[in-house]
């Protein structure tokens, strides 16, 4: 019995310490974002490359996924609302569910799967190859040179791609609504404008930025935990990605709680 209780205690302490480590690491990086000395031409070069790899190279896949999901979501939602006689809520569902919930979630999932895992593996390989040691020997700050541009890229990419996802979904919704629900363009735009809420959009953008920060920071953190052995790379990537998904769920839940609290206050 004691052993069982001890194990629970150990697991709890380990989890709390791990969370504490991650949050203090997040704070260190967050504070650097606003330090002008952290930026130089080498950092800018990494930032531009990362934005290209993360936000530009993914565009064909992203566009395809957004169009397909947009048509499916809007078709299903529209038909269901029609069948239960609540089609007047069509706009609210589009803006409140697809734009503020689905768009960030799908975007963050795609970026985490593609770039998060790549960054995790890249940092782990650099650790195993002693390339991180090279940076330390030559006095190059890893946070400034390696982590900061990747995290800024994560924030920028998730925010911009979520907006793009929303635009593509709403545009494909326009086509679908025209064909199947016989809505005119002006009707569709009016429905969206009436349902749109600036406060919801603001919360969505903040949520995207927070998600972008953590889906890059966590893979970096776990990549750094690789040892000198090659076999530690898959372990680091696996742990990093599992924790990314846990973080996504936690941030989604927290954002819903914050949103409902703020709605009550407002």
């Amino acid at each position: 019995m004691n052993t069982f209780a001890e194990n629970i205690g150990k697991t709890a302490i380990h989890s709390v310490r791990s969370l504490q480590d991650n949050l203090s690491f997040a704070y260190r990086i967050f504070s650097r974002i606003f330090t002008p000395q952290a930026y130089n031409s080498a950092v800018r070069m990494v930032l531009i490359n990362q934005i290209y790899f993360t936000a530009v190279q993914i565009l064909p896949l992203f566009f395809t996924v957004a169009v397909c999901l947009g048509i499916v979501f809007i078709g299903v939602i529209g038909k269901y609302l029609m069948s239960i006689g609540l089609f007047s809520f069509f706009g609210h569902l589009l803006m409140g569910f697809v734009v503020t919930e689905i768009a960030p979630f799908v975007t963050v999932l795609l970026i985490a799967l593609r770039s998060g895992s790549a960054i995790n593996a890249e940092i782990a390989v650099m650790k195993v190859n002693k390339e991180l040691q090279t940076l330390a020997i030559f006095g190059i700050d890893m946070i400034n040179y390696l982590f900061l541009p990747r995290i800024i890229c994560g924030i920028v990419s998730v925010v911009l791609l979520s907006c793009l996802f929303s635009i593509i979904v709403l545009a494909s919704g326009l086509i679908y609504s025209g064909f199947f629900f016989e809505m005119t363009v002006s009707d569709y735009i009016t429905v969206l404008m009436e349902s749109g809420n600036f406060f919801d959009l603001l919360v969505m953008l903040v949520k995207c930025a927070v998600l972008g920060f953590f889906i890059v920071m966590i893979p970096i953190r776990y990549g750094m935990r690789a040892t000198d052995e090659l076999t530690s790379i898959p372990v680091a990537v696996l742990n990093g990605m599992v924790n990314v998904f846990i973080a996504i769920v936690i941030i989604e839940v927290l954002s819903l709680i914050v949103m409902s609290l703020l709605t009550r206050l407002v």
Binding site: N129, T134, I137
Partner: protein, 155 residues
């Protein structure tokens, strides 16, 4: 030149140097080239980062240095495709990018195991003479014979 009877002694001395030394231009397998950067980017990085040179300024300087070794065509290549001698030259060029550096060659024969003697090493270091303050070679005592005819020895 510093020659050591064992790996432990060498590494202890090297670690002390790294911990307390300033402006060290280390050429060592312990400080490999960054594999996702090209040769040009690897060498330019230090000037871009520490002296805040623009990318163009740092790359122009690097190309000038690469010309010393007639290695301009390697500028866009990455670490895995370089042969051992080319890798050594690039590491030396990166090391002299440190501001007024003490060039530290850590076991050069470990970087280029096929080298019979140190003539190539002296040649490479000679080509960048004037771009470093001092040059130290760290190696094992049993490699002493391979350095014959070069720098003065110090046991």
């Amino acid at each position: 030149m510093r020659l050591f009877p064992s790996e432990e002694a060498l590494e202890k001395e090297l670690q002390e140097l790294l911990a307390h030394g300033h402006h060290l231009g280390l050429v060592s397998l312990e400080a490999p080239l960054i594999s996702n950067l090209s040769v040009l980017e690897n060498i330019s990085l230090l000037r871009q980062y520490h002296q805040r040179l623009s990318r163009r300024q740092a790359e122009d300087l690097t190309r000038e240095y690469l010309r010393i070794f007639q290695m301009e065509d390697l500028a866009g290549k990455r670490n895995p495709v370089l042969d051992e001698n080319q890798r050594f030259c690039v590491m030396v060029l990166r090391a002299v990018m440190v501001d007024n550096p003490v060039l530290v060659l850590d076991r050069p024969f470990k970087i280029m195991p096929d080298l019979a003697d140190a003539r190539f090493i002296y040649d490479v270091v000679g080509k960048v003479e004037g771009r470093y303050r001092e040059c130290l070679i760290f190696d094992y005592l049993w490699n002493e014979g391979r350095y014959a005819g070069g720098f003065s020895h110090e046991a």
